[in-house]
Symmetry: C2
């Protein structure tokens, strides 16, 4: 199967799962479900679920077994965007080309929609209990991995560092530390959970971790470059926000050319880390495309 | 063991567990841990953990086995208070006799502290994995119960109803529906998880559910009465907020006397529901004391 067809298959599975797991009965509190759907089904790039599905596949696992975890991970990513966009955080009006949650539903409902998606991620990851589903011990391990990466030791910790370090001159190490937590941890968890749910070896788990850490950084570097040079129309969100908020980024530290040079090196290293996998062609191409993405 | 000594034992176990499960190493993102601690260790009444521990005990289970779940439940309760107090929600300055989280840490950090506590509840409930710990399948069931009660089908759903129904005349059924979700669901989950983790019968589970549903309502009715008649000093939070926000409460529907009469009936019914338990004396006294509480 070529890259584009496999990508489309992963995306179709993901979109289907996200819709399938959301509440379907009509509730008295329907407005919160509408707010959850508005942000979750806004057509993100689905980088994390795609990585999880592909790592499960190349580790010899059945993709359908990780679907609840892939959906849960995307719910966590989405809640973090809703809360990040709030007036008390980044105060953004635009996300994925549409008004942000609080612009549509109001601040209180957007706060609750974020809370609800985080909570629903736990319900989804824990609850999909068919007869063929993962062994409970394996499932517990995968859900632990997910929430460990999302919390104070991972994404939320990174958000805190990012916030506290605004308007301060930072070293490259400090910027790396922030992004390792803020965006790296969930991307890493996506890859690792794919391998874990396939019941694969520690060697594959380590290879997946290294690949994910490197492309997680590439993702962030390209984000920084696009924030500098891209247009709001291209990105579907406001640009130039790093400069406005006085953030030290890979671009301010290394320049646009230097940052892209570093991203290219990391991409090569990420691809080399895949050596223990028999069928790494999709993941190699995936890394290459992250490097040249325009949004 | 008399009521007060057993209550103190449950409270000691709870406080110890809450401290023990919080991150202990010093992190670069330490400020978020301080914000989590500030709200979590502010000396709440710990109604939910106490109920869980006691229901586990009277169902023949070991209390230490539910401690991670009891701590997780209190983390969820605490995050909901932090977010409820935010300027975009109830905009409260005082909670448990101290300035609210956003007054101390700022709105952005308070939002993240709430998120972090909800996420950490999942980490705590899932992760405490000693050799004597609960069987994975039982633990998954208990954690499902917890997050099911906390989300759109439970507490968050109730918060949404509460918010959307402000400044509208409501029927008693609508007020009951809101509180069944907003405060009832987590109280019910506390009792049920205690029984579930003890591996007890469906008969005990049903009895616990009925007791918890009734005292959950009593808790809310007394809250409404105290909001009308109590002082801020007594309660450690602002009073009269229901009237200011135009809320229909049990007091506006039934009057103070009528509301307390209903609370007394519910307390009697709750105690009767405990018949299948051999040793219900603590839970009977617990219900009586909820009825006459002053804060």
């Amino acid at each position: 199967m070529n890259f584009d067809r496999r990508m489309q298959a992963h995306l179709d599975l993901t979109e289907h799962a996200l819709r399938a797991y959301l509440p379907k009965e009509r509730l008295a509190q329907q407005r919160i479900v509408e707010a959850m759907e508005y942000s979750l089904l806004a057509g993100g790039k689905r980088v994390r679920p795609v990585l999880m599905l592909e790592f499960c596949r190349v580790s010899g696992g059945e993709e359908r077994l990780v679907l609840p975890l892939a959906a849960a991970l995307e719910m966590i990513h989405t809640y973090s965007l809703i809360h990040d966009d709030l007036p008390c955080m980044d105060n953004d009006d635009l996300r994925r080309g549409r008004p942000t949650s609080h612009r549509v539903f109001g601040e209180a409902m957007a706060t609750l929609a974020g809370d609800a998606l985080l909570n629903y991620a736990a319900e989804t990851a824990l609850g999909a209990d068919g007869p063929d589903y993962l062994d409970p011990a394996l499932r517990l391990r995968a859900v632990c991995e997910l929430f460990g990466a999302a919390g104070v030791y991972g994404m939320i910790g990174g958000q805190v560092l990012d916030m506290e370090r605004e308007n301060r001159a930072l070293s490259l190490d400090q910027v790396l530390e922030t992004h390792r937590l803020k965006t790296g941890a969930l991307i890493c968890a996506a890859a690792r959970i794919g391998v874990i749910c396939a019941g694969a070896s520690d060697e594959l788990l380590e290879a997946a971790t290294e690949y994910a850490q490197k492309i997680g950084l590439v993702f962030q570097i390209v984000d920084d470059v696009l924030d500098c040079s891209g247009s709001a129309q291209q990105l579907g969100k406001q640009t130039g926000s790093d400069a406005r908020s006085g953030k030290t980024t890979f671009v301010t530290l290394l320049g646009e050319q230097g940052a892209m040079e570093r991203a290219r090196e990391l991409t090569d290293e990420a691809k080399q880390a895949l050596a223990p996998f028999d069928d790494a062609s999709f993941l190699c191409e995936f890394a290459d495309r992250l490097l040249v993405r325009q949004r």
